[in-house]
Structure formats: structure tokens, C-alpha cells
């Protein structure tokens, strides 16, 4: 059947374009303007050209924060995606267990970021926190305020606790959409549990996994509130991710120009990595 090409349909997209302009494009334009200027306040700006970008690209502080962010995102994806798939595969598909599991899974997602940070900040303390006290009582020296490794473990476990549910729910939605006929055919063929997962469940979950990986990557790469509440970027700078560094620069030091330059580079990296993820996964899907 021939498609009807009617370019007037573009006018229907106009309201969305206006909304996006106000929520994203205008702030982005402002950031671009700030990134090539300097200000001492009072809404007065002076041309700085590419100075802030040069400073940023030569700054160890920026590359170290970037490295921490990439490592954090990689660890998060490596834990949350397999764990989410595993939990989704083991959740009940019918009966009273379904709503119970869904509600339990949704609970962490309903808690605001700053509250999650506060919960884990108290939970991990080795004087009054259940986790910190118990771990120390077991003879393991754990103190996320002093030890960078402990701080990283705390931030990672907190993120896994908060966001694995999202991967679970998305995978579960993919799994329940698989018709029973697929499983019946696999049973007749004598397929193993692994074969059912590899050739039926995983391909059917691929689209939702793409969304899960994209969302979790972008979220973890832009993480701010939770680590800021728990560790404040410390000890030292060990958990200072790009967004924490950015806020310190923009609001703490009021260096709007350098902060804007950093925001733009940060934005471009997220855009590039998201595009790569999206392209690789959608094309893998199309090839199949």
C-alpha cells in the first residue's frame, strides 16, 4: 500500500516544538551564550571566546570527574541490567503474587532522590545506621565518610537498590507480552531453560532493554542528588561526579562561563553516547 505524504501534518507537531523550545532549546541557547562570556554578576557580560573550553579541556579536575562518571555508569549498567533481567524472569506471571511483586518493585521508584540519599546516609553510618553498624560488627572496617572505596560501594549499592526496579518492570513488561505458543513450541522441541531464554525471552525483551539501558545510562551519567546527599562528593573528590563538580562551579564559585562550557561538553558527551547506544541496539534489532 502506498503511503500518503502530506507535509501539512508537520503543523500537528508544532505544539510539541513550542514546548520543547521553552523547556530545552532556550535554556540551551542561554548556556551557549554564557559559555563564551565572563560575568561578575549584575547581568553584565564580557566576551571570553573559547577560553573556558580551552581551560576545561586542559583541566585534570574535569577529566577525573568524567572518568569517575564513566566508571560509575559502567558498573551500574553491569549490575542493574543482568540483575533486573534475573528478577523479572523469576517474578510470577499469574496469581496473587503478581500485584504484590509489582508494588514491591515500584516502591523504590516512588521515593524522591534526596530522600533516598538521606535514607542511605543514615543507613550507612557506623554509629547509628543499621548497615554501617552491622558491617562493622562483622569485623569489616566500613566507613563511607573516610574511605573512598566504602563511599563508592555505598553509592553503587544505593543506586542498585533505587533503580534496578525500573529494569525489572521494563523486562517484566517485555516478558508478559510473549504468547504462550512460543513456550509450548519450545517445550515440544525439548528446548533447555537457557535456550528458551536465549532464543525466545531475550529477543522479545530487546526493545525494552534498549530503553532500560538508555534510561539507566543517561540517569547514572547525570547522577547528582543521591551521591551529593550521601557523600557530598567526598571523601576528597572520590565521588565527585561531573554534575556535582558542575554545581560546585556554577553555584558554589559562581563561575558561570566555565560552568556553561562544562555543561555543553557534558551535554555533547551524553548525546554522543546515547546516540551510539541507540544506533547499535536498534540496528542489532533490525538485523535480527
Amino acid at each position: 500500500m502506498d503511503k500518503t505524504w502530506n507535509n501539512k501534518a508537520w503543523f500537528l507537531v508544532l505544539p510539541v516544538l513550542v514546548l520543547v523550545a521553552f523547556s530545552a532549546v532556550i535554556p540551551l541557547m542561554t548556556v551557549v551564550n554564557y559559555s563564551v562570556q565572563d560575568t561578575f554578576g549584575n547581568n553584565q557580560f564580557f566576551w571570553a571566546g573559547t577560553e573556558w573550553f580551552e581551560e576545561l579541556l586542559a583541566s585534570d579536575r574535569f577529566w577525573q570527574a568524567m572518568g569517575r562518571n564513566l566508571i560509575f555508569s559502567f558498573i551500574i549498567l553491569a549490575i542493574e541490567v543482568p540483575l533486573g533481567i534475573f528478577i523479572a524472569l523469576n517474578m510470577p506471571k499469574k496469581g496473587w503474587g503478581v500485584p504484590v511483586c509489582l508494588v514491591l518493585m515500584a516502591l523504590p521508584l516512588l521515593i524522591p532522590w534526596n530522600v533516598v540519599g538521606t535514607i542511605w546516609q543514615v543507613f550507612g553510618r557506623n554509629d547509628i545506621g543499621l548497615l554501617g553498624y552491622t558491617v562493622n560488627a562483622l569485623g569489616i572496617d566500613y566507613n563511607y565518610v573516610k574511605d573512598p572505596f566504602d563511599a563508592w560501594v555505598t553509592v553503587i549499592v544505593m543506586d542498585v537498590w533505587h533503580w534496578t526496579s525500573l529494569v525489572v518492570l521494563l523486562c517484566y513488561a517485555g516478558l508478559v507480552s510473549i504468547p504462550d505458543a512460543f513456550y509450548q513450541a519450545a517445550k515440544i522441541d525439548g528446548a533447555s531453560r537457557w535456550s528458551v531464554f536465549r532464543y525466545i525471552q531475550l529477543p522479545k525483551m530487546q526493545r525494552v532493554l534498549l530503553i532500560a539501558v538508555l534510561l539507566r545510562f543517561m540517569d547514572s551519567f547525570m547522577i547528582y542528588t543521591e551521591p551529593f546527599v550521601v557523600t557530598g562528593g567526598g571523601p576528597g573528590n572520590s565521588t565527585t561526579f561531573l554534575s556535582i563538580d558542575l554545581v560546585k562551579m556554577a553555584l558554589g564559585q559562581f563561575d558561570l562561563g566555565p560552568a556553561a562550557a562544562m555543561s555543553l561538553v557534558y551535554f555533547l558527551i551524553i548525546l554522543l553516547l546515547s546516540w551510539v547506544f541507540y544506533t547499535v541496539m536498534t540496528n542489532y534489532d533490525a538485523e535480527r
Partner: protein
């Protein structure tokens, strides 16, 4: 799919609007000692801290998007094809890859060579032509 023959009018409208906007932008550049101060704020203390270079940059992006829209109007469908990256891209994808790549070329030039971005711009144009031709 039949293309439309009215795209020339659309193209003329885009070019005329771009020229008028560029003219207005140039006329808005403030004067300093009788000469245009290209890097001064367009409206001192004004909203969004606009300057001529940043406004010209966004005007160019807008012009590119408008030209892409005219291209789509003239030849609908986005011209999908499989290029050297071995996956299907449309014209919009190729523009996105060109712009994103150009941004990184400029950043790499700043980081590795230094200021003076005209060569980076030239390299970006060559890169964009290559993307539109081969990707």
C-alpha cells in the same frame, strides 16, 4: 512517491528570511568608537546575554534545519540508505551525525591545537560533505 515542484518557492522564502534575519542581526551589533563591536552584548544587561557570534551560530543552525525541511518538501521520505557504517540512515540522521561530529572536531582542535577555529570549521565542512556522501 511523487515530489512537489513548489519547493523552489519554499527555498526562496527560507533564503530571503535568512538574509533579512542576518541583516537585522548585523544592524543590531553595537558601535564602539565608530566601528562595530562584534563581540559586545547585543543588548547590554538584556535577556540571555546574546552576542553576534552566538546569534549567528544559532541562525545558521536554524537555516540548516529550514533547508532540510525544504529538501524534505521537495523529496519526501528522508532518502534512507545504507552507507559505510552498514546501517540505514536518513538525511536527518546524516545532519545529526555531521553536527555532532563537527562539535567534537572543534573541541578536539581546541584541546589539541589551540584557539583559532577556522581550520576546524573547514575540517568540519569536509567531514559533513563526507557524511552526506558516504554514510
Amino acid at each position: 512517491m511523487a515530489g512537489t515542484h513548489r519547493w523552489q518557492t519554499a527555498l526562496a522564502v527560507v533564503v530571503v528570511v535568512f538574509m533579512i534575519a542576518a541583516g537585522l542581526l548585523v544592524s543590531a551589533v553595537p558601535l564602539k568608537d565608530g566601528a562595530r563591536d562584534w563581540f559586545a552584548p547585543l543588548a547590554a544587561g538584556g535577556w540571555m546575554a546574546w552576542t553576534f557570534p552566538t546569534a549567528a551560530f544559532f541562525l545558521t543552525i536554524l537555516a540548516l534545519l529550514s533547508l532540510m525541511a525544504v529538501w524534505e518538501y521537495a523529496s519526501p521520505g528522508g532518502h534512507p540508505r545504507v552507507g559505510i557504517l552498514r546501517f540505514e540512515t536518513t538525511r536527518g540522521d546524516r545532519l545529526f551525525v555531521s553536527l555532532l561530529g563537527s562539535a567534537f572536531i572543534h573541541l578536539a582542535w581546541l584541546g589539541l591545537v589551540g584557539p583559532g577555529l577556522w581550520w576546524a570549521l573547514a575540517l568540519s565542512v569536509v567531514y559533513a560533505i563526507a557524511v552526506f556522501r558516504y554514510v
